[in-house]
Subunit: 556 residues, 2 copies
């Protein structure tokens, strides 16, 4: 069983390359392997019916005897959301800062595997040695507190993985990125840098989260009635600013939406959120206050159908209604793909008479990811020999590579990897030495990976033109038709208005059967194929649609 691995460093991205989300990177040296992050991503629009997507971890399970630990940079879904699935197949300790661990704990508890998991807190001062690896971390700024990057000391040299970061010069919690540690790493010499490319296409500097606070404060001062603010539940900095604005302007805050309630509670319990004792109230207490004395903090800033704000806008929320005179702040920018659902939510809120603050220029949102000047600053702090842009779609990675070149990284030292590429460094020489299994595992309900391309193709087909089921009962002895053809359709046409078409379809099937049986096509699969082809052709001619046709033969 115990295999001996040669002494070279390999870095394998298992997620987050060529995509936004499901970040995961494996590092191996000799008989040791560690992993940074274990995220999920949300399904593309063609992944019909899929709930979430996680990285394919075949490579980790194949190497489980040398897997020593998983290090997590911060508590966002695209960095921790895959953990429950990973920990169900792999017994491996998880290292993260306190808030991140707090959020992970909630997740593992939901999945019923908290007790069997080994969670180890680290701080900015920790150093964790696991076989050939010595891992320390450094604070960065991001839209969630306690975010870190990792410096991974290996026999080949130090590799730095930034995690998601920006450089906020006026951070909400007053905690700055650890500039000294980053520059010290750069001074000592860094073998390779893997850095966040999310905003590589954006020029300049990302504004400080604190600038959002000023805007929120103004609204809290001037809004005549209630203020309802929707943002990402994990953006604890923003939650803090909302709470401060409320406290300074004599408003109570009610929290709405499961993930917002959970995150606020974890952050508060762990001391990452300062709240005066009587600021938070229950939804049920809202009616005890005047409208200008309250604010609601909620999820749904992306117009997600099941989220609290969307349900309020549609008047389907059990506890909260929107009234004319409310001021709604949508404190996020649309994640690509969500533009339309956000627009619909805004329209609904405005129709009710709410004042909605949402425009890009309104100052109620800033990104948590650094723009070009920050990415260059990171490159200049770390001054890596080799550079691998990560966390981004191809064009972002490419742009990041350009930025690296501009800061002086040798063009031949930049590696544009693909998922599963084995980036190897042996005796200082880098190369992409091969490819391991990597990709996406789709999760649908309780099913992990049981929905693949065939199922998705069928769902796509069904979603476009529906299905016609054709049932025939045939005699086992004589091969004669005993009953049918019966045609049942779903998602094809409104049956009551298309009786003629369906009657005609029935005649087409009957005629085809007649012909095939005269031609002595006696195997059932030949009959089915003949019926499917004839009916498909007929329906296309009549309707220019191609529903799925499913012939079923019952033998009696």
């Amino acid at each position: 069983m115990s295999k001996n691995y040669s002494n070279k460093l390999s870095i394998v991205p298992l997620g987050g390359i060529g995509e936004i989300g499901k970040n995961m990177t494996a590092y191996a040296y000799g008989n040791d392997m560690i992993v940074v992050d274990a995220g999920l991503k949300f399904p593309d629009e063609e992944m019909l019916g899929i709930d979430i997507v996680i990285p394919d971890i075949s490579y980790l399970t194949d190497n489980k005897q040398r897997l020593r630990g998983i290090f997590i940079t911060h508590g966002h879904e695209d960095h921790i959301g895959g953990l429950p699935y990973v920990l169900k197949s792999l017994q491996v300790p998880v290292y993260a800062t306190r808030l991140t661990l707090g959020l992970i704990e909630g997740k593992l508890r939901e999945h019923g595997i908290l007790d069997q998991s080994k969670l180890i807190p680290i701080t900015n001062e920790s150093e964790v040695t696991l076989g050939h690896f010595k891992v320390s971390c450094f604070r960065v700024n991001h839209s969630i507190p306690d975010s870190v990057g990792f410096a991974i000391d290996t026999p080949e040299g130090v590799v730095v993985q930034t995690g998601d970061f920006k450089f906020d010069q006026t951070p909400v919690d007053g905690i700055h990125a650890d500039y000294a540690k980053m520059t010290a790493l750069g001074e000592r010499g860094v073998l390779a840098l893997l850095s966040d490319s999310t905003n590589a296409e954006r020029p300049g500097f990302t504004p400080s989260e604190r600038s959002v606070g000023a805007t929120i404060e103004r609204v809290f001062q001037t809004a005549p009635g209630r203020v309802i603010l929707a943002t990402f539940a994990s953006n604890i900095h923003r939650v803090q600013q909302v709470i401060r604005a409320a406290e300074r302007n004599g408003r109570k805050v009610a929290i709405v939406g499961r993930s917002m309630v959970n995150n606020v509670s974890v952050a508060k319990d762990l001391g990452y959120l300062e709240v005066e004792p009587d600021t938070l109230i229950e939804l049920e207490e809202l009616s005890r206050f005047e409208t200008h004395e309250v604010a609601l903090l909620t999820t749904g800033s992306q117009g997600e159908p099941m989220s609290a704000l969307t349900r309020m806008a549609r008047a389907t929320h059990r506890k909260v209604e929107i009234y004319s005179g409310d001021t709604v702040i949508i404190a996020s920018s649309p994640i690509p793909g969500n533009e339309k659902s956000i627009s619909r939510t805004i329209d609904l809120l405005q129709r009710i008479g709410a004042d909605v603050i949402y425009q890009p220029g309104s100052g109620v949102h800033v990104s948590g990811h650094g723009s070009q000047e920050e990415l260059k600053l990171m490159l200049n702090f770390i001054r890596p020999k080799y550079f691998v842009p990560v966390h981004g779609e191809f064009r972002m990675l490419r742009k990041h590579a350009e930025l690296a070149t501009a800061t002086g990284v040798n063009q031949d030292h930049i590696f544009m990897l693909e998922l599963g590429d084995v980036f190897e460094i042996q005796d200082g020489t880098p190369r992409v030495s091969g490819k391991v299994t990597a990709g996406a595992i789709l999760i649908d309900g309780l099913g992990v990976g049981d929905v693949g391309n065939i199922v998705l193709r069928d769902r796509k087909l069904l979603s476009q033109d529906g299905i016609l089921v054709v049932v025939l009962t045939m005699s086992k002895q004589t091969g004669q038709l005993l009953s049918g053809p019966d045609i049942i359709s779903r998602g094809f046409v409104y049956v009551r208005e298309s009786e003629e078409l369906l009657d005609e379809a029935n005649r087409v099937v009957a005629a085809t059967l007649q012909r095939l049986m005269t031609d002595r096509v006696s195997d059932w699969s030949g009959l089915k194929m003949g019926v499917r082809d004839a009916l498909t052709r007929f329906l296309y001619e009549q309707t220019r649609r191609r529903p799925m046709v499913l012939p079923i033969i019952m033998e009696v």
Copy 2:
């Protein structure tokens, strides 16, 4: 049959209110009715399998004896795309400017109804009298030449409908909006203005289309290889600028994509596009030239799956490949909902090695719709007594209403209508007097309106978790099960990996049947319902999914 309608003016929006697209407005006075525009819109993401959406024209067919004519403002799909369907149910003349009519002709020819249609050209100087209505038009700037707004003279006064417009101070074809006519209308006094709200949320002035030309020209000068430019096929101004840039820089132009070929040909034949005799070449001739001597003009700027550019990017275009060294210009901004498909196309092009110019700030696209300053200018030209914002989602209409108030329109004189609202003016007094049938007709293949909510709900269900068909053959005489239950699934799970689950499902159905038949549930529908409920429950417990379950009983 001949009903007498009272003498009052009614204005009924049948499309384009609370939405972008399928613009259509009906005007009636006494026994006369006219319509402005007959557009389509593209389906929302929840309208699975739907090709296009047109306005419900029940109100027009109910009033066909008084319908005198349809006036079209310009040749874009959201203003002409519904015409073929309207003209199949209604014999009514269509009035439009020459280019617009040219584009309409192509459409009606495709639908095989050109011969039976009556198309009447109008110019900026025309005046068409139809019963109580006297209609004249005025030139506006838009992203297609020959765009006009209408001044509709009625016994109650003049109503102005702008159509889509911007004010371009340096138009590509040198043809300015007819400022004199608009201001003269304002001087004489206008009863009501219906104006385009698409960009009501954008501050400032929309840049001139000519500014795009300068950017394109620079790329044509400096690109080392081929230039491939994708834009909306109907944007003849932009096509003109591409052709000019090509001619000035010694490049030949090949046109790719059916709609681009059609539109260029119509515009060229009608004299709306100036092209030197040897500029255009066939795709087959491309190989005769050096790469820096050619350019391709194509569709697909929205990443539409079947469009030319998308197919080139995916290497599935029959005639054109993209090479490293090509420069691709995506000269459009994403229509909400298309962001992801455009991103994917850009990523694919960059992976091949093409240089892709697409950023919002890159100057390769400007809107065809006026921003806030232009909307206010229009309001100040026309100085209407009553104002109705049209062409836009609710928040755009509301913003436009605010702009109108700012220019001095009395707040009580602004009418925020909904589709089907009858906005009536009698003896100078306005009111919303009622509502007529209005809404969306869905077109799927050849089917017009045969896909409704039930079909869409089924498609949605099928798309999420697929379908399980359960077939039983029962004896007519004895009521006994002769064969089955057979379970066939599509789009649910990958069958080969879920045999156990499906076997167990089969046992659940068999046991349920047994129980129901012992309980003497002998009617088939009772059996079906029992089977459906039991199987649905079992599958949800096992998988947390809710596929459609379709029980079918065959009688022998």
